[in-house]
Symmetry: C2
Subunit: 220 residues, 2 copies
């Protein structure tokens, strides 16, 4: 664990003693991921982190700036990992990876981060939430993020040259919906609906199911 900001110890005071800035970062990410952006105050964050109220403004400038920094870091990390996997898939297939490998590069990073024993479990929920509750700053980043998404769109277009471009873009839209729906609340609802037979903890099985479903959708 080289990056202290990815730690998430339960002991708030210990967190604060080690590094107040990192404690604020971690507490803010966790509380926002669990309760939503607008429902968490600076007081909540500093109390959870075991630091004083002024820390947020001293270290980050403002509440919005803090949340933006969390968002920017996590999305950058996620995009980097996805791009890496897409690059590897291309290398494996002479520059033209099949649909399933492209989708795996998009699905796998957030799913593996979300596994129960992973430190980044909470970061994935933060990112998903930011997509629907984010501020104007975050939406601006998501617009630039289109250039990142374009690499996946281009790969899919190349993998399905016979398909109308319009169809490929719409199917990518459907695939994005599948990913964004992987929130705690939705997992709980599904678990309740299915009488408890769906276990989201088995991320490799879930990844396989998602790939099966999405690949079939791209095949026709």
């Amino acid at each position: 664990m080289t990056d202290p900001l990815t730690q998430d110890p339960p002991d708030a005071s210990e967190e604060a003693e080690a590094a107040p800035k990192a404690a604020v970062f971690g507490a803010a990410e966790r509380l926002f991921a669990l309760h939503g952006f607008q429902n968490v105050s600076v007081r909540d964050i500093t109390a959870a982190a075991g630091v004083n109220l002024a820390s947020v403004n001293y270290h980050f400038g403002s509440k919005d700036a803090l949340l933006f920094e969390i968002f920017r870091r996590r999305t950058a990390e996620l995009n980097r990992e996805r791009a890496r996997m897409l690059h590897e898939a291309a290398a494996r297939h002479g520059g033209k990876p099949p649909v399933r490998d492209i989708l795996e590069a998009y699905f796998a990073p957030p799913l593996r981060w979300a596994s129960p024993d992973n430190d980044r479990r909470i970061s994935v929920q933060f990112i998903i939430r930011a997509r629907s509750e984010g501020t104007a700053d975050m939406r601006e980043v998501l617009k630039n993020d289109v250039s990142h998404l374009a690499r996946f769109a281009d790969a899919l277009l190349a993998a399905r040259p016979g398909l109308p471009k319009e169809d490929v873009y719409w199917r990518l839209h459907f695939v994005l919906g599948m990913v964004h729906n992987n929130r705690f609340a939705e997992f709980d609802r599904l678990h309740h609906l299915s009488g408890g037979i769906t276990r989201e903890g088995d991320v490799e099985a879930l990844l396989r199911r998602m790939l099966d479903f999405a690949e079939a959708g791209f095949s026709a």
Copy 2:
């Protein structure tokens, strides 16, 4: 147009003169759908409706009660229409409709309501937003909503008896993700990414694409 609350005239004063309570209802629904729950104040709502500040509390009790009433009415209307279409599909197929007809009963109502010339366009966005930003009251309703969703799950289980139940539930989860991702912001992003070739205004074409994608995902 029998229900005055579904009207959405641009002239706020006219709205208020006709029926203040309906004006508040309509303005609140529209503002929340566009800007999010926490970003809209009672002052914003009453100003947009052209009524006085106290109207919200007089007619609805509180801001939360107002939003809950909008949520309850719209979800009830949507569930009723979906149930009706599922019932018709069952009637057409001797009580055992195929996957595509089940999915159509789930997809079609919100998509048709979301067509550009439809008064309910904004209601769909409200409902989608409530799912991720809703209060505790709304989440309680969504839990009862599981009984409504169970009818679709049961129909899918009957249509795919050879498939493990677990698979059917997960695929239903993926399908829900496709539906919930149909937000204005996501359509705009897709439009931008695709260079403008995706037109969400053609809801029948979008419905066909969604059904093709989801049905293929259920076929294997």
